[in-house]
Symmetry: C2
Subunit: 339 residues, 2 copies
DNA sequence: ACCCTACTGGCAAACGTTTGTCACCGCGTC
DNA sequence: GACGCGGTGACAAACGTTTGCCAGTAGGGT
């Protein structure tokens, strides 16, 4: 009582398996009347070709995986959307996997998915550089916003201009003591972002307090907010907007005015950043473009880029061109003000 | 220069293919020394077993697909998270696909995915009942929040208690004229929700204006807000929170006070619903549980439910028990007030 | 009457894996 | 010394599909 196979369809139509296969995929190759009979049989049986068998014959799966640390983070949703669009245009199936910020879960997912796709997009991987390099030797992959330092691992990242602008913006408002709330210790992006903050502060002669690592979640913002108040800083930059939301929540419930008492700057400009009150000043990241760019790189690497994308003709452009470091910029809203 | 196969590994280790296979998957069956040699060879070659070939031999893919209309909608993120958790606990790979609210894209995705998974979860499908029934005959699927009316199609839905409570809440605050902003015309959930509003209004003797269909996006809320003001209603219920956010945006920019001038109630209680100012009164939906329940149903249907889930032992429970209609309730925040 | 061509449909191999079955080896036992 | 036995490894079949190749047929031109 398993799913019907091509053999069942062929039997019901009274033809050979090969004829059935051609009737379904080689228009013109089989007489119209025969082909119609085969299609009818397939329809009645509810036949669905087994992708596994097909994939076994061709050597390609026609699918790529996108692995993200946390699907409930709006930032990654936007990234997903970007890669989805591009991949669909090239008739490549995308499978998305959420690893819930767990490195073990991430590696487990890689193992489970590696054999069923032609390549993988690893967004903000929490894996260390060595593990990433190892996997890169096993399966074509593109690291998004995580540079393993291994030139063999193709990488698409974002620049730190936005972070520098953020610090400059605060300094320009007269802030002389900032605080930075770090993200996960295993996040490459956090290390990079923190370095940019440190250097810019040094350059501008602004004092900086490092608040330590906090999970990239909204509820982690409470601890960060308390740390800010203890530090005496007049402004805080957080690793991402989710944390910034939490900081805003906590400051409000402690009666601290934003931006009058403390200025807050997030990172990513995710969905909701303009909903808070005050609306969040944050670093805008072209998440959708990031996803699309990474997907394009991967397609180029695995040779899946169709010459003529089926959907939008010019918009997506050649699959593997363009810079692999995207620019970011500060978007000023209401959560920052002069001291 | 293709990916290495088991044959390559076996050759390098100087054993037969079958020996290599057993060395990797049947601990004890092969002498430890030989097995170690095979594992070393596999490692050096970066061998990754082809899921396709494996799947061909067993008849199961060990994977299910989750198809959602819009991944950037926080509601579906929560749903994804719920099914991810349950599926991971049963060692089933989940692939998520976003169809961007397009019925054609949805059917195309079904076709592309049907052959590579054991079953599918269709969340808030925009497909009509007949098409859904047809696909249900082709591949095991569970419809989430979409009842095709076909008893052959397993379905998990949410109740309308929350919507009724919302109307009662408004009536209790003295509102005598409500408006309802519908979602997509092809949404079963919208039809159901609207009916609940209509009936409850009739029961309570409250006047209701139907504002017509609006896309379930934030930007569509502007048109809905304008329609509300034209209608003269003192309160509006929207199909979902995204629309409610847009309504809030628009009313604010037109200088209309919420909740003093107009009360607003959304639906879903998505991420961000408590961030708006005023915070949104909305119908809370157990999205995560909805995803988990649907996944459990599917596993039960395709016989993939492992007797002993690998991760959380009791929490997930037996795969196919529990009601298939989940309760919702109103969560009152700041966007509703007496007339 | 013959051959060439165009068209249709079938045979069988191949893709990479898992696993039932079997052969072989060395050992101890009678 | 023959036999049985446990342990180890190889052979080959099977999963469902695609496709190169070939055979058969019909029709038309010479």
């Amino acid at each position: 009582m398993s799913r019907p196979t091509l053999a069942d369809v062929a039997a019901r139509a009274g033809v050979a398996i090969s004829t059935a296969s051609r009737a379904l995929h080689r228009p013109g190759r089989i007489r119209a009347e025969t082909a119609a009979r085969v299609r009818a049989a397939a329809d009645e049986l509810g036949y669905v070709p087994s992708a596994a068998a097909r994939q076994l014959h061709r050597s390609s799966a026609g699918a790529v995986a996108l692995v993200v640390p946390d699907l409930t983070n709006p930032f990654f949703m936007a990234l997903v959307r970007g890669s989805t669009r591009l991949l669909r245009a090239h008739d490549v199936v995308q499978v998305v996997a959420d690893v819930e910020e767990e490195p073990e879960s991430e590696e487990q997912t890689l193992a489970a998915l590696a054999g069923r796709v032609d390549g993988m997009l690893l967004a903000a991987s929490r894996l260390d550089a060595a593990t990433l390099s190892t996997w890169s030797r096993r399966v074509p992959l593109v690291a998004v916003n995580h540079d393993a330092g291994d030139p063999e691992v193709p990488t698409v990242t974002i620049g730190t201009q936005g972070v520098e602008e953020a610090v400059e913006h605060l300094a320009g408002l007269g802030h002389r003591h900032l605080a930075y709330a770090s993200g996960p210790a295993t996040s490459w992006a956090d290390a990079r972002r923190r370095t940019a903050v440190v250097e810019t502060c040094a350059r501008l002669g602004v004092r900086l307090t490092d608040l330590g690592h906090h999970p990239p979640r909204r509820d982690a913002g409470a601890a960060a907010a308390d740390a800010v108040l203890r530090s005496g800083a007049t402004a805080v930059l957080t690793f991402n907007d989710l944390q910034a939301f939490g900081v805003l929540d906590r400051l409000a419930s402690r009666g601290v005015q934003v931006p009058e008492d403390v200025s807050v700057i997030g990172h990513d400009d995710i969905f909701g950043a303009d909903l808070t009150s005050p609306a969040l000043t944050t670093v805008t990241v072209p998440a959708e473009e990031l996803g699309a760019r990474a997907a394009a790189r991967l397609l180029g690497a695995v040779g899946l880029a169709t010459a003529a994308p089926s959907a939008p003709p010019a918009a997506t452009g050649p699959a593997s061109t363009g810079p692999d470091r995207l620019a970011t910029h500060l978007t000023v809203r209401g959560s920052t003000a002069p001291v």
